[in-house]
Symmetry: C2
Subunit: 332 residues, 2 copies
DNA sequence: ATGAAAGCGCTAACAT
DNA sequence: ATGTTAGCGCTTTCAT
């Protein structure tokens, strides 16, 4: 700063005012400062700025699984908004590990992030509350965290599952398997509720043996569905609770040389690029992941600007995209 | 710090020494300090630390496309190493936009990152050089940047493509299409070289009209391959230069009701979870993306520890995984 | 509207 | 081995 100040023949304070956009400076001087800064190729040191002004321009992104294209899309949406607001993104990818989540949250705290967009693991760590109290803006994503009382952006997984299962029911299926995440996961619970409700509304019972709670992993889904295909009264359709689970179920189906949708119909959560390239193409529950990211980012910005605002919630709708795997249409 | 120092009845310097692990302190005192810190729930302010010690513990990750699962896997590998070395990751995802890359690099510079793992767009921005001169450790990933003279971790895309194409050639195919990225991309160039070499080694000519350079996008691949399937002497096989391109080609093939591998055989770059769930399962060129990430992170750590070390390069091998789409085996 | 000066929370250098 | 002190590069009072 000093060099710039010297070159522009002003004080460091003025330089700061010009470059950070705070305070009022005569256009004439401002120009001189900018020119000097350019001439010296001066880049303000953000660390020093953060220290002095007691606040960074860093937002932490806390997510369980970045290899899930869904989260990748969300991140892209977040960037759309936050980068143009001159924030940068600190990635806290905890790889489905609660311990790791804990450690990462502590680091984020130390780094003094201005805000956090987070998808907590099963039960949100108490650290979230601590961060909130420390004045860090929080927005919960995809998984609700009502106990924290923070802004949230979620997905109507219940309705989505309901739509998918009802669609299968409407197609005449009476034994519909549900390959779902762990019972401890709120996401999985939602899916289960939708599944149950669809049966109830149709006046049909749900068969407990057709519901499987497993890890959100392809391999687990593969094994679970293998087993399910071996039971006496094999299901005639399956609803899978996420993209990875769909892939696992698919593996099991192929291995048994079953034909989709003739032998078994399939509807899965999450639409992804490969869903249309599969044969048959996949009937899925789709939603605007990127849009959700944008929304969360926007909320965070507003929260930072107005910390006292009462918490806001927004639920994104899902959409049933009927393709071939459910058997409702013949064109693959 | 002061409060901790007061509670432990030592100086702030001692507190710093204990908590940052530098300097020597009597165990007795160290314990007292740690206890005091815990009691006060004290978290050192990393911003202040960075300012004073002239160096952050932040590493920038510069990548073109986070929605590509390949990059997501690389990031996971990077985390494996860097998080345990107490670094955090600043995500600079430039979404295939050169302008965005530029802006992000500037931000990273201002944030004072200690190092950078980057996959540059076509021609590496001069900012990389600037960063290197400013003492930031650089490791190039996936795309070479020989002009920068920095450490690099790359992939033998040439050999991989060679293997894939030779495999198809060996199966008797003589008209093999190549769906490739833009000619300006070094990745695409490599693929092309492998493709050409395989033909040369087999004493076969390459038909220029079978080679298509397009954007790394599913939609582009779809249209390109649609066109390719309409030409007079239709190709009997196709090699796709990346996962997204494979998906696009698949779409075109399905649309024309062609059967794989009978009507058209397919081998593609990148192995992904869905490759085995497709029918027929995909023959692919595979490689250890996560391992590449680890390697890059390791290199960066070494570079930071020893800035003067001559640049190191490491090329990861690829592996041809023969499944069903190439027609070499009957079991799907 | 501008400048002078203080100080953000730490750690490094120096002194003991 | 520990304490004292200065200062990292900026922004923000407080004067003027």
């Amino acid at each position: 700063v000093k060099e710039v100040a010297a070159l522009a023949r002003v004080s460091t304070a003025t330089v700061s005012r010009v470059l950070s956009g705070n305070g009022i400076v005569r256009d004439e001087l401002a120009l001189k400062v900018q020119e000097a800064a350019r001439k010296l190729n001066y880049k303000p040191n953000r660390v020093a700025r953060s220290l002095r002004s007691r606040g960074t321009r860093i937002i932490g992104i806390v997510i369980p699984d970045i290899e899930n294209p869904y989260f990748a899309a969300v991140i892209t949406g977040i960037e759309d908004i936050l980068l143009s607001a001159d924030y940068c993104l600190l990635l806290a990818h905890y790889q489905d590990s609660v311990d790791r989540e804990q450690v990462l949250l502590e680091t984020l705290h130390c780094e003094g992030v201005a805000g956090l967009i987070f998808t907590p693991s099963t039960k949100p760590s108490p650290l979230y509350r601590e961060l909130a109290q420390a004045g860090v803006g929080l927005v919960a994503l995809a998984r609700e965290a009502p106990e924290l009382g923070v802004d949230s952006v979620s997905l109507s997984g219940r309705q989505g599952t309901y739509d998918g299962v009802r669609h299968l029911l409407g197609l005449g299926h009476r034994r519909i398997a549900l390959i779902n995440g762990p019972a401890t996961s709120s996401t999985a619970t939602e899916r289960y509720e939708g599944y149950t409700k669809a049966h109830q509304d149709a006046g049909l019972p749900v068969a407990a043996e057709l519901v499987r709670n497993i890890e959100w992993k392809q391999e687990s889904a593969y094994r679970a569905f293998q087993a399910l295909l071996d039971i006496e009264q094999r299901p005639t359709a399956v609803f899978t609770g996420s993209n990875l689970l769909t892939l696992g179920a698919l593996q099991a189906i192929h291995e048994k040389r079953l034909e989709i949708p003739k032998d078994i119909a399939l509807v899965g959560f999450d639409d992804l690029p490969w869903a249309i390239s599969l044969r048959p193409s996949l009937t899925v529950i789709s939603y605007e992941a990127r849009e959700m990211g944008r929304c969360a980012a926007q909320m965070l910005l507003e929260r930072i600007a107005k910390p006292s605002r009462p918490p806001v919630h927004r639920e994104f709708p899902t959409k049933l995209i009927v393709r071939a795997s459910c058997g409702a249409q013949w064109d693959w």
